[in-house]
Symmetry: C2
């Protein structure tokens, strides 16, 4: 038996806006940041749980304040008890008395929930001596369903049906696990097409991407149709007709505007259009999807919780589910959404990039393939080549694929000297700016 003794909360920010990395039509100068948590216990093993949620700079301190508000719900908890009842633990945070009001299950408090929950899962996986994807993959259908909160989604998927569906995927699990270890998880890159880059940089990065084995390329759009057409033409010309090309509008359009705009891009054989409008507009996405077919709609990085996901699936609003490992309330809710996506047959292509999102989502997608879907059709996981050097167990890419992590945990741990140097505002990186 060991108890959680402390949450160490760090407001971590990287000055990425200085290089325009990550710039898009909605977010011109993000400073990739993490509201970062270390779970300490009084166990003799001295293992720590590391977790975080991703933000783009200002406001990161508000998420840290929200983590602080959740701290009393965690301190003193027996880790054995927590690990054996992860569903109950999750509900105790996402549905906390009084605190629920400032969500519920959305925005700042849900981002904070994700950070804490991710840290606890990291610790759990370390204690079990497995990478998170393997820990999840080894759970029985009953165990998996027990970590999920089905509140508000039982009209489309009950726990019993979820268990049944998982049982049908047990055959072949070992083979799929080996397949992933041998061949890796398919990925795509956004590195070439940020809005702030000039044409020469786009051409150079696109050529590098092809040379590195990428078959799917995504660029940012939405700052003007003529500019987008020019950039799409450059890239389509570079990648040829067979590689997949996707665009990401980062929510800049209204519904009718999205339909008109995307129709003007029809010559480029787009595979998906990402975030065409507000992440809150389920019916809007459904309407856009209908009008721009066969181009498919993708969204997810700002889809707040499983209730909105449920509706996106119900209304046939999306062709790709870009679940976010930190926007949702951590591992438990992600698993719930994976079960929903499987039921509706929608491929999951997680949102990544930022800081550490690649490190996290590889675990979720590996688990999803091995234990939930058994199907890689149209599955690609986002990959962006930023900030991996700060992680103890960074992602490893090979021929455009994610190589499954082997170390115990959720690959979330950042080097101690990075935590000190980039802590805002007192770290050396910020104090001198």
């Amino acid at each position: 038996m060991s108890n959680i003794t402390k949450l160490e909360i760090i407001d971590l920010r990287f000055p990425t806006s200085r290089e325009k990395d990550g710039s898009d039509a909605m977010n011109p100068d993000p400073d990739y940041s993490a509201a970062y948590v270390v779970v300490h216990t009084d166990a003799a093993d001295s293992l720590e749980g590391h977790g975080f949620t991703f933000t783009i700079g200002k406001g990161n301190e508000v998420v840290c304040a929200a983590i602080k508000a959740l701290e009393p719900l965690v301190i003193g908890k027996d880790t054995v008890e927590v690990f054996a009842n992860m569903g109950t633990f999750w509900r105790s945070l996402s549905n906390a008395n009084q605190i629920r009001w400032i969500g519920p299950e959305k925005g700042v408090i849900h981002l904070a929930t994700a950070a804490v929950v991710n840290a606890v899962w990291d610790l759990y996986a370390k204690v079990e001596g497995k990478p998170l994807w393997k820990l999840l993959s080894d759970m029985s259908p009953e165990e998996l369903v027990s970590i999920c909160d089905f509140r508000y989604v039982t009209d489309v998927l009950t726990p019993d049906e979820a268990i049944e569906r998982l049982h049908t995927k047990k055959a072949g699990k070992a083979a799929r696990e080996q397949e992933m270890i041998d061949g890796g998880l398919p990925a795509y890159t956004t590195s070439a097409g940020w809005l702030g880059y000039d044409d020469d940089k786009i051409i150079r990065l696109t050529r590098e991407a092809i040379a590195d084995g990428w078959d799917h390329i995504k660029i940012k759009v939405g700052n003007g149709v003529d500019d987008d057409i020019r950039r799409l033409r450059i890239i389509r010309n570079e990648i040829g007709p067979d590689r997949k090309l996707m665009v990401d509008a980062n929510q800049v359009w209204d519904v009718d505007e999205a339909i008109e705009y995307v129709q003007k891009l029809s010559e480029f054989d787009l595979w998906w259009v990402e975030e065409p409008t507000s992440p809150d507009d389920v019916l809007g996405h459904a309407s856009i999807a209908k009008q721009i077919a066969p181009i498919r709609v993708a969204t997810g990085e700002q889809i707040q919780n499983r209730v909105v996901w449920k509706q996106l699936f119900q209304s046939e609003a999306i062709g790709f589910a870009q679940i976010d490992s930190c926007r949702l309330g951590g591992v438990n809710e992600v698993v719930t959404v994976l079960l929903l996506a499987e039921k509706f047959g929608i491929p999951v292509c997680p949102h990544a990039g930022g800081v550490g999102l690649c490190e996290l989502v590889q675990h979720l997608s590996l688990f999803n393939y091995v234990a939930v879907t058994g199907d890689l059709t149209d599955v690609v996981v986002e990959y962006v080549d930023h900030l991996h050097e700060h992680f103890l167990d960074p992602v490893v890419m090979h021929d455009g694929k994610y190589v499954p992590p082997k170390k115990p945990g959720y690959s979330a741990e950042i080097h101690r000297d990075t935590l000190e140097r980039f802590e805002f505002p007192q770290g050396a990186e910020w104090a001198q700016s």
Copy 2:
């Protein structure tokens, strides 16, 4: 010309959980709280803008932290410029660079936006020497539309159409204003039916409510159908067949559960069922509405922004719109939603109670009747008799109706000694507990 010099931020909490006031199936022991803001300027008139958002206790400090994050966007702003361009001002907060990520337009950061925006409107109305409802009612259709953000709602209502619709309501405005001053705004009460009250207290409070002139009574349900049937029987027996009876489930049900549960209450001739399920579940509400008709669905106190409101209207999910003056991003977004509700012909019956919500919503509903709808069919404004004594310009009720406020401002200002006594955790009320 005068500039905003300071936001004074106060974490204000009332220990209402000691008396079980406000208890419901989801929120067993709320401490009614406000993340409270005073806008100070360097103007010679020494007027202050007071505003707040409502929470139920823990987490209020997180909202205060979010207000602090918005402060740099407000300090130094010229008030004349701000008042002349309230739409631009609103967008500068709700769509702030980097900060937008931790919403967008939802949860903690949107609650904080509401507090700041409400305070600025209070100041604006004081400077103009008018109560807020009158300030809004005197605006031209063009001015009103200019304060709204139509982003993400133009597929159902464009600014031009909104202006046209408002023009058609100009006739009769003066008469409706006089009607309100003479007769007041229709209201209903929730005072009698909190879940924590015993039967004797329910009977006593129901009789008092009838004696005070109330024709609409609402009670909390959701803790078990037998218990609810017993309490509904008591109250229906007391109020007779003609008075309206409504129930509020505070989101405790899943979709199918809500339908089954409400069908078991059919003998009580319910007027509405409030918050049957998750506030995020547009399609769920639509499904419930279809199944429980002619009982109508009401929701709103946790509807996060105009985008979700738009969809509730589009999908015929609700029969009553219970807009919240603080959950939405303050006056500007409320006006946008009032325009949407008018277009779809849904009566607006604002959420009130808590601390100060009655003080705010009376302004919004008076304006809505005078300038937007010209129609009182099925319109009742919630009223709860709590905490009004702390306000400089508290609501005045007469025969179950709100008497229109006359003092300049948004009626949001709380006595200075209350702000000191109930400030958390250092105020006298908390320091001794």
